[in-house]
Amino acid sequence: MDSLPRHPRAADPTRHALKDGSSDAREKMQKHDVVVVGAGLAGQRAALAAVEAGRDVALVSKVHPLRSHSGAAQGGINAAVGKDDSVDAHIYDTVKGSDYLGDQDAIEFFCQRAGPTVVEMEHFGTIFSRSPDGSLARRAFGGAGFPRTIYAADRTGLALLQGLWEHLGTSHYTLYEEWDLTNLVVRDGRVQGIIAFDRRRGDFAGIAARSVVLATGPFGRVYGRTTNAHSCTGDGVAAAYAVGAALKDMEFVQFHPTALMESAILITEGARGEGGFLKNGSGERFMGRYAPKVLELASRDVVSRAIATEVLEGRGFPDGSCHLELMHLGKEKIESRLQEICDVARNFAGIDPVVEAIPIAPAQHYMMGGIGTDIHGAASIPGLFAAGEAACVSIHSANRLGGNSLLETLVFGNEAGIAAAAYAASAPATTLTDADLETATSPLRTWSSRTEGEDPATLRTAMQETMDRYVGIYRNQADLVEGLRRIRAVKERFLKVRVVDQSKVYNVNLSDALEAGHMIQLAEIIILGAIARTESRGAHFRRDYPKRDDANWMKHTLATRGAEGPQLSYAPVAYTRWEPKERVY
């Protein structure tokens, strides 16, 4: 071997990364008023709101906050601020986009806050793209009646994440960086705090809190073909389910129409918003068959099914793709407004979108379901709150519109932060005991002491292959039942998962196992909801039940933990002004 490079100084592995040194993470038990888990846009916004309400706040994240998956959002954030547009139009588009399963009171609340939320982010320092008159630039997006998607080139999530992180840096809170959530602790009918795994120290610790906000994002990694980051493993959603919180509408999984063929890296809907075409293997612009009025700018479920149908019926390219064409937009527009996806196409597919079409296919992208909450983020357990993609309010329901998820993180992150702070201010103190820590972590410690058993990666892969194959864009009873059988087999195998890495420092093998366990549980719940819902609505499409069935299925699915596994029940949809109609684009 060659001589060694220069890495002279080794860090003290017991060091921890606290933003302010007010407490010492080497202590096994921490205590705060409010603990926010997840430090993407929703978590940061919740933390900011709780700090501003005067609470002692901890922000816990398994990645540095700037590495959160919010930063991967590309296209934009919706707000009906144009003179021709209106909040009512935004509400209507969102209700229709949800295939009438969205709670209309929540959607009204949500859309009314869009304008002020975006302005606030501009005041916090976010760098948005601008119109020639100096106002915030807007672009067209799928399922929207007006160009109402405000953007920062095609890195809107990154721009917002930087703006919020930099603004949050002026306030006082404690950051627990690179801590994995393992458990919530619930006692006496309310949340007492969290148990987490500190990657650097290689040990478990408890953080007692009067209230907890879960903002841990999605669980797209239950699928193999997903636009989601590797970190999107549903840790908070699984932890909430484990202590009895109700999960809502978990069967609704959004597949984004345009992900790179091989790597499934996202190509923003903004590419079509700026005028991009979708073409099949014979060069035909096929969306006219599926959405005659708005073509490529139909909602995502419609466009994804259209692409899948073209390929299934033999009209795709031989590799199973369709093409996204941008060439006609011209080099200047492509390179200024779609700069990141230019780089993505060039670096990850070897395609220059200025001169070539981009081979794309749908990929899992967004989870409409999550921890059921009210409009203030409150989950079904006192003291527990959730926001962002981990939560289900529900505003997206059967299908989310592009540009509504960034807005959701900020609007409901803020709400959850305010509500969690208010709860903490009036609730008595909580305690975590050594017994809590022991109960929560002793099963996890056995993973590392096994001499036999399967690696978490093997089980994760088996789960992902099952979900890709049996729980995709087009579903049917036989596939879903087979998928459930396979996922339950993986769940059984997980009882003997083995962590081979014995190190105490940054043991990602243990994190892998935690994440795989969370995802396998959530996969089972997704399939159970999908088997039960014998209709097609939004992103949930059953070939054996191809019609929407309002008489029987205009209701939310709730999944809670029972003695024999997940128990399904149903809850009504809230209506205000919009009667369900057939959904045509």
Partner: protein
Amino acid sequence: MTETTVKATFDIYRFEPGRDAKPRYQRFVLDLPPHTPVLTALLKIRDGSDPSLTLRYSCRGAICGSCAMQINSKSRLACQTPIGPELERDGRIVIEPMRNQPVLRDLVVEQESFWRQYDKIEPHLILDPRKPMPEGRENPMTTQEVDRFKETPRCIACAACFSACPAVEADAGFPGPMALAKLYRFVVDPRDQGHQDRLVRIQTEGLWLCLRCHLCTEACPKDVRPSERIRDLKEMAIAAQGGTEHGSKHAIGFKDNIRERGLINESKLVRQTSGLLGLAGQATQGLRMIRKKPEILKSPHRIDGLDEVEKIYQALDDVPEGKS
């Protein structure tokens, strides 16, 4: 895309301080298509051969900034670096942790100093309470004002620049390319009211420690071009404060020297930069130089074609600010 595979040899740095006496390299050989990203290969190794291989990664699409590392001695994002060209050039792929940051384990480094430098430049809008934000609406910003941010909003804080920077290695007081590019982003922000203070402060807090080697710009996976932003900051700092600091006086002296004679007058330049007292302070080094190279005591001659140099200077004088 199931094209032919190549035999890819990886030599991966493994080290856990406190447990291992010293670092070692572990070899893995995989058959992979040449367009495979390094990150994909590393995850295959983790999933298939050795789950204890420790690295940070998340988005796999060059937007989260987690997976910067040394790939054949260059600071790169593993997700954005295909194996093919690396193998063609070097025959194998040597994977090491980023430099200038202590190793926690394997490819994971302690980034505290990197983040601290970022925090130190006050990365948030500095506002003047007498000039409140417009009530209920955004601050207008022209396209030209947005363009002044240049590429800095693309920064993903991956620290590849920090890893590549020799000034960071030499001087813990140097903020590093990322922090300075971030400072630039706030200095050009029309909403920020702290421009002047920021520029004055950074002059004594590391701006002039940049060696102008441009390795940061070469390393940056997002084309932020930190070294160019540092150059912009230097120009703005001189415009804001004049030549009051060693660094700025040196730059001005350098420019004047060349304009005058086409060559550097070293003794004069030291005097211009450090003043007479400073000159005395460097006397030992000066004497050594005089012994080796006595001609530096004489003023250099004017070079032939000095009029051509002058033309260049005049052309540069005519370039509007910010377009250099």
